[in-house]
Amino acid sequence: MIEGISIYEILTLSSIVFFVGVYGFFTRENLITVLMSIELILNASALNFVIINTYLYPDFLQGAVFSIFIIAMAAAETALAIAIIINLYKLVASVEVKDTEKLKY
């Protein structure tokens, strides 16, 4: 519980972060920034877990634990994505989204 800040304001913040992420995911040309957008989406949901846990069920810890899980998963996912991007770079000497079209069929 944070003094002077209501749950609605924090949820609004997390929604903003989420949609910024979604927007970035759809529109960015660079794979690294797409990856960063995914991180934003994950962070928004982690924030939601923590906030809802703190404001609505202060006696429990599940939300906080879940957010730790999300952080761990995000780290793993990033490592994997970076590995893919590096291999892609070796292949086409670029990290642009438009250069990945080769993989279609």
Partner: protein
């Protein structure tokens, strides 16, 4: 009386087979031959002891009692079950004696004949397997057990015919024998199933009881004008005809001569090929009583025609083993026709007794003929009559024993074959004059072709041999001498005291009038052969020219093989298999391939929808998710 030790008779060869088979690489040839011979020697002693005990003490109030030791093996219904066990009755004991004698002699003989062969131990393992299966067949207590061992003898026959597996002709002969007999066994199996379905039992004692429910109720169900049980018996006889090389399933027997000669003596002369006769004899009360013996008539005519047909072919063949093979077929035809003309009660059972008697004597002299032929082949390394001649000087023992066997099979008085053949002819004369005339004619032909062989091998032209042939070793001549003894002495056993369809001894007397006719015909055959083949001359060529087309037909065995090839290749492969293959390829397969092709071309049409940009896919995914969320929300609201 206790006959439970007879279970050892099949089990000893089985143990031998397992040991020799598993350790065939480890056991040296010198030991394996002795192991096989000693094992079979023990069964030989046991069989003779069982015969002695049974025939002397097996009677209660003048009727031979069956002794049965069995346990329940598999249940189908309360009543219908398969047992495994041992049945001791007059004919099974007689068969035990035949099989163990021939098998023991062949084991002894093979020690010399197969010497130096690579697969020596394997050969003895197969022989033991065969002996086991044959003993099991003989001792079977019910139809299903006999069928199991029936197939086992077929399999061991296959293994032994194809023993020289590097020789393509042996391999194809083995396949042919297996396929032809297996095809016939299909009939046997269907017959067994019909009997199981309609009578609810497979047990010989229940089936064969003349007052039992099976025989008295034969007319209850009929199919196409005949009782179903008659059909079943005809189908069972089909299996018997396949194993016994009766027309039209005889084509495998001449080719089976590709196997080693001891195998021909054991399996294709004395034991396995008479399994068909044994089967009919085993079910004789059924054959006789059901439908007033209609199936038995079929047996009689098939036997008579086969015996005549085979005897004619045997006249023209040049491979000595093939002549003997056709001779075997002809003699088995005799046994079948004797069963076919037999009655049931008392003296009417003469044909049945004669058939078993001839089975016994035939096993002895035909086994001997094959062993002697093997001894000749062993000496000069050829099967063909053209390569032989004047061998009497080199191989005295083989010569004498072959002569005894040939006299015996020709029905010359005081040899074993004379007595048994006379009983058969008497039975035929009393019941069916047509069959009698054909049988007498066959007796003449038999004498002629046998002495054609005899003169061709041991007299005839004096050939110059590259390697001087010499007499076979003792290991081969001793069994031959024993069988020569049996080929004379076997005829003096009073079979009618021991064997009859109703298990009651009766008195059979030699019919001198008929015996005189038969032996005169036999002697005429021998004299003719003497004129034709004693000295080298061109009489036989002149005669074969005179017969022209008929000679050619006979020489080619009436083109039976060609007919079978025509039926299988042209009709079955051409008219049935090819259209089915076409249907499978163009309808069944094609429809499946068509579905695949349509899917593929459709997917080519729509693949442009894939842009390759993952953001487009994500867009699709998210907008789909949003649409579903809206729909769910809307429905929830309502």
């Amino acid at each position: 009386m206790d006959f439970s030790y007879t279970i050892l008779i099949p089990l000893i060869p089985l143990a031998l087979f397992v040991i020799l088979g598993i350790f065939s690489k480890k056991i040296p040839a010198s030991i394996s031959g002795w192991m096989g011979s000693i094992g079979l020697g023990v069964t030989f002693v046991l069989s003779y002891y069982a015969a002695y005990q049974y025939y002397l003490n097996g009677k209660v109030n003048g009727v031979y009692q069956p002794f049965i030791y069995k346990y329940n093996w598999m249940n189908f219904t309360d009543k219908l079950h398969i047992d495994m066990g041992v049945l001791i009755d007059p004919i099974s004991v007689m068969m035990l004696v035949v099989v163990s004698t021939i098998s023991f002699m062949v084991h002894l003989y093979s020690r010399g004949y197969m010497k130096g062969d690579d697969g020596y131990t394997r050969f003895f393992a197969y022989l033991a397997l065969f002996s086991f299966s044959m003993f099991g067949l003989v001792l079977a207590t019910n139809l299903f057990q006999i069928y199991i061992f029936w197939e086992l003898v077929g399999a061991s026959s296959f293994l032994l015919i194809g023993y020289y597996y590097t020789k393509p002709s042996a391999v194809s002969a083995a396949k042919k024998a297996f396929i032809v007999t297996r095809f016939a066994d299909f009939g046997f199996l269907v017959g067994i199933l019909i009997i199981g379905y309609y009578t609810g039992t497979w047990d010989f004692q229940e089936l064969n009881n003349p007052e039992g429910s099976v025989i008295t109720n034969w007319a209850s169900t009929s199919f196409m004008g005949l009782s179903v049980l008659t059909w079943a018996l005809i189908l069972i006889f089909m299996g018997g005809a396949g194993k016994s090389a009766m027309l039209p399933f005889h084509i495998w027997l001449p080719d089976a001569m590709e196997g080693p000669t001891p195998v021909s003596a054991l399996i294709h002369a004395a034991t396995m090929v008479v399994a068909g006769v044994y089967l009919v004899a085993r079910l004789f009360p059924m054959y006789y009583f059901i439908e007033d013996g209609f199936a038995l008539q079929v047996v009689a005519y098939v036997g008579a025609i086969s015996s005549l047909f085979a005897a004619i072919i045997a006249l023209t063949q040049n491979d000595i083993k093939r002549v003997l093979a056709f001779s075997t077929m002809s003699q088995i035809g005799y046994m079948m026709l004797a069963l076919g003309v037999s009655g049931y009660h008392g003296h009417d059972g003469l044909g049945f007794m004669a058939s078993m008697f001839h089975l016994f004597t035939h096993a002895m002299f035909k086994g001997l003929l094959f062993l002697a032929a093997g001894s000749v082949i062993h000496a000069i390394h050829s099967n063909y009559l053209q390569d032989m001649g004047g061998l009497r000087k080199y191989m005295p023992i083989t010569h004498i024993t072959f002569l005894i066997a040939a006299l015996s099979i020709s029905g010359v008085p005081f040899f074993a074959g004379f007595f048994s053949k006379d009983e058969i002819l008497t039975a035929a004369y009393e019941n069916n004059i047509l069959i009698y005339i054909s049988s007498v004619f066959v007796a003449g032909l038999t004498a002629f072709y046998m002495f054609r062989l005899y003169f061709g091998i041991f007299w005839g032209k004096d050939k110059e041999y590259e390697h001087t042939p010499h007499e076979s070793p003792m290991s081969m001549t001793i069994p031959m001498m024993f069988l020569a003894f049996m080929s004379i002495a076997g005829g003096y056993i009073h079979f009618s005291k021991y064997i009859s369809p109703d298990h009651m001894p009766f008195e059979a007397h030699l019919n001198y009038y008929l015996a005189a006719i038969a032996s005169t015909v036999g002697l005429i055959g021998i004299v003719l052969a003497f004129i034709f083949y004693k000295k080298e001359n061109n009489l036989s060529e002149r005669f074969s020219h005179a017969f022209g087309i008929f000679y050619k037909w006979t020489y080619n065995k009436f083109y039976f093989d060609e007919i079978y090839l025509f039926v299988t290749k042209k009709i079955i492969f051409g008219l049935v298999a090819k259209p089915s293959a076409w249907f499978d390829k163009n309808v069944v397969d094609a429809s499946m391939i068509g579905i695949g092709n349509v899917t593929e071309s459709f997917s080519y049409k729509i693949k442009g929808m894939q842009s390759g940009k993952f953001q487009d896919y994500a867009m699709g995914f998210i907008s789909g998710g949003v649409v579903i969320a809206i729909v769910v929300f809307y429905l929830w609201i309502n």
